[in-house]
């Protein structure tokens, strides 16, 4: 099953490779990963899309949590969330489609962000289904190049992935 996992981590060098290494060390593919600083510059957030059965994902989540630099891990599986990704598409234009492309872009509420005599570069944002639908339409016209971000995700409504610190549940400070 496909999972969107969101991670809040210390904004330090090496954290991304630790996170990515957890997946590769277990032989899992990361479908996409988006990382950037959060509102608090000492932390960064990562949105990872991956595939795996429940037991495997449970293990991945626990292992991620165990990383010293990881503050919080959320699997969006059962949560109500919104997600968006962005795609940039460059298409070759000739007279025939010079009119057609802007019409489609408008329907999908995208934007043409660069124009040259022979190309349009289009930006579309949306959830995965919308992006797929747009690409399906535009593909027959001939895509020269395409880059996608992969999704970023957030829970709906009041809920946030809080900077809540992991709390030690009692016990001695050291002593295993």
């Amino acid at each position: 099953m496909r999972h969107i996992i969101s991670i809040l981590a210390e904004n330090e060098f090496g954290v991304l490779s630790r996170v990515a290494g957890l997946f590769s060390g277990r032989g899992f593919n990361i479908e996409s990963i988006c990382v950037a600083e959060t509102l608090d510059p000492t932390t960064s957030s990562m949105t990872i899309v991956t595939e795996g059965d429940d037991a495997i994902i449970e293990q991945v989540l626990k292992q991620l949590n165990k990383l010293i630099n990881v503050i919080k891990v959320v699997d969006f599986k059962d949560a109500d969330y919104v997600s968006r990704e962005m795609v940039l598409v460059k298409v070759s234009t000739d007279d025939k489609i010079r009119e057609e492309v802007p019409r489609m872009v408008k329907i999908f509420r995208g934007r043409i962000i660069d124009v040259s005599p022979k190309t349009y570069t289009i930006m579309i944002t949306g959830d995965e289904a919308k992006i797929q639908a747009f690409l399906a339409l535009i593909k027959p016209l001939g895509i020269k190049e395409l880059v996608r971000t992969g999704p970023i995700a957030m829970m709906r409504g009041e809920k946030t992935i809080k900077m809540k610190e992991k709390h030690s549940k009692g016990g001695e400070e050291d002593g295993y």
Binding site: A9, E10, G14, S17, R18, G21, G25, A55, E58, Q59, K62, Q63, N65, K66, I68, N69, V70, I71, E165, K166, H167, S168, K169, G170, G171, E172, E173, D174, G175, Y176
Partner: protein
């Protein structure tokens, strides 16, 4: 006050109370080496960096303190990797300092540069590259804290040469605060109560106790609870010594070379109380057929261990000692729950006793010198008052089977990684921690050749480790598999080109002994154990002896090949 990085390093180690460092020099270590030379921290210079890390590991396993090792950049650091991985898989608290090329050369393929933080990422609990001398003290403090707290493990600190020379402010922090790292020590009371109800209603309970018992210092609690409730105990290899090996409720080791009683008890049980164990495949056998009738209670400090390999009914995340103490309290106070308990389980106790009596650990006495006999004699001669390390292979399994470990931290063995070459340097580390103890490495003729050079270290520092070589002329454990599963085609496993171990010992300035006949075993072992020098005892044992019982890889625990 300003100090340079190397002085800060030394001060930080002093503040941690470190009295021994296992090390090997190089260009990148020079600043620190010099500062250490002026300090009174004990420094054991080994002969190979793998030896340094295993020695620090042996020190940690024997003493319960953090082991420390320091190696140079590049090849020094890569040589340390096997030692780090060994400690990682057995959850041993270590801090490994590697030195690194100067900051401005990092990433340039400089002479003796490797990305050791990158190389060791999958086998360390955490790691640091120190980029600024002003971070050094804090990082060292954090490294020790992370290594020993929660589920212990090795932490690597990589120190570039310029950082060890740069001036910085020295202030050793007295507290560590890492907002993203707060291990859970206290088990959830509701879950603990649930576990106790399950035990109270069980008819065939069994403890499955692992290395966590030893790491958390829970062996007294385990012994008390097991005795209170008459629950038989099976230990993993790493758990040996965590429950007295001569206790009437002790079933022995479980798993691939476990006892009949331990494996049958697990298979037939209705409630398994796993404590500080991680259901390693060598312990469980075929997972699908593992304990088919049992509900599983699993106590572990590391949530990732729980439900990783087998389904757990009552997970309890916490320190084993803490949780067992609560269980003892509940068993003492809530007597009602346990009203009919004893009568429920008496038949079970009977059955486990019958298994022990009918299928004890045994071996054929056919006139040849048997390795199992040697181990039995070592136990009797030492009375169990020794620190035993092992190498890996048959020597390790026979030791686990035939030496009765009575106390925690008396068996130091590479369980998770199974590292040949571990035992001897680990023994050196244990001897540093306990100079007056009798430390014995039980070795194979193959394994001892992996770190034989550490004999020079033992002689140099007067560390009288005894290496008992069960010399069968083979890589015995691999030969055993070839005998059973490859029609006795002994490809690669004969070791006929071994050196004369007695002469090797003497060449290094240690004592050398040889035993060829059963009747000499006691006398020569006694002489070796009394010798003040490190010693090799080369024992020519029956070459084709095998370890039984054996559960073939991939089979279930009940499918044991017996002698």
């Amino acid at each position: 006050m300003k100090k340079n990085g190397s002085q800060i390093f030394v001060e930080a180690l002093k503040a941690e109370g470190i009295d021994a460092l296992f090390c090997y020099p190089g260009g990148a270590t020079l600043n620190i080496t010099d500062a250490l030379g002026l300090s009174d921290i004990g420094q054991i210079v080994v002969r190979h960096e793998q030896g340094a890390v295993h020695a620090a590991d042996g020190y940690a396993r024997a003493s319960g303190r953090v082991g420390v090792s320091l190696v140079t950049s590049g090849p020094g650091a890569t040589n340390a990797v096997t030692g780090i991985a060994t400690a990682y898989l057995d959850s041993i608290p270590l801090v490994i300092f590697s030195c690194q090329v100067p900051t401005m050369l990092i990433g340039n393929d400089a002479f003796q540069e490797v990305d050791i933080v990158g190389i060791t990422r999958p086998c360390t609990k955490h790691s640091y590259l120190v980029k600024d001398v002003n971070d050094l003290a804090r990082i060292i403090k954090e490294a020790f804290y992370i290594a020993k707290s929660g589920r212990p493990g090795p932490v690597l600190v990589d120190i570039p040469k310029d950082v060890s020379a740069a001036l910085g402010e020295f202030k050793y922090p007295d507290k560590v605060h890492i907002r993203s790292y707060q291990p859970t020590y206290t088990g959830h009371l509701g879950q603990i109560k649930k576990a106790m109800k399950l035990i109270a209603s069980s008819k065939k309970p069994v403890f499955y106790a692992g290395g966590g018992i030893i790491l958390s210092g829970a062996s007294e609690e385990l012994t008390k609870l097991a005795s209170m409730l008459s629950i038989p105990v099976a230990n993993t290899l790493m758990g040996l010594g965590g429950f007295p090996g001569n206790h009437p409720l002790f079933l022995g080791m479980l798993g691939m070379h476990g006892t009949y009683a331990a494996n049958m008890a697990i298979t037939e049980s209705d409630v398994i109380i796993a404590v500080g164990a991680r259901f390693d495949d060598r312990a469980t056998g075929k997972v699908d057929e593992f304990a088919p009738h049992a509900k599983v209670i699993h106590i572990d400090i590391d949530p990732t261990s729980i439900s990783k390999n087998i389904h757990v009914d009552v997970p309890i995340v916490g320190n084993s000692r803490d949780v067992l103490r609560k269980m003892i309290e509940i068993a003492t106070e809530d007597r009602d729950d346990f009203e009919n308990y004893q009568s429920h389980i008496s038949e079970w106790i009977h059955e486990t006793e019958r298994w022990k009596k009918e299928y004890p650990l045994t071996y054929m006495r056919n006139g040849t010198l048997k390795p199992q006999y040697v181990i039995e004699r070592i136990f009797d001669i030492t009375g169990g008052n020794a620190i035993i390390t092992t190498e890996v292979g048959q020597n390790q399994m026979w030791t686990a089977q035939f030496y009765k470990f009575l106390k925690p931290r008396t068996l130091l063995t590479s369980g998770g990684l199974g590292t040949m070459g571990f035992g001897f340097p680990a023994g050196i580390g244990a001897q540093v921690a306990y100079p007056d103890a009798l430390v014995i490495d039980i070795a194979g003729d193959g394994s001892i050749q992996m770190n034989i050079q550490e004999l020079a270290t033992a002689v140099q520092y007067g560390l009288p480790v005894k290496v008992v070589i069960l010399n069968n002329g083979y890589l015995g454990m691999v030969r055993q598999w070839q005998e059973l599963f490859y029609e006795k085609r002994y490809t690669w496993t004969p070791m006929q080109y071994a050196p004369d171990f007695v002469k090797v010992a003497e060449a290094y300035g240690a004592a050398g002994f040889r035993i060829e006949k059963e009747e000499d075993v006691d006398r020569v072992l006694r002489a070796a154990f009394q010798d003040k020098r490190p010693a090799f005892v080369d024992i020519l044992v029956n070459p084709e002896e095998s370890v039984y019982p054996m559960v073939p890889a991939g089979a279930s625990l009940r499918e044991m090949l017996l002698v």
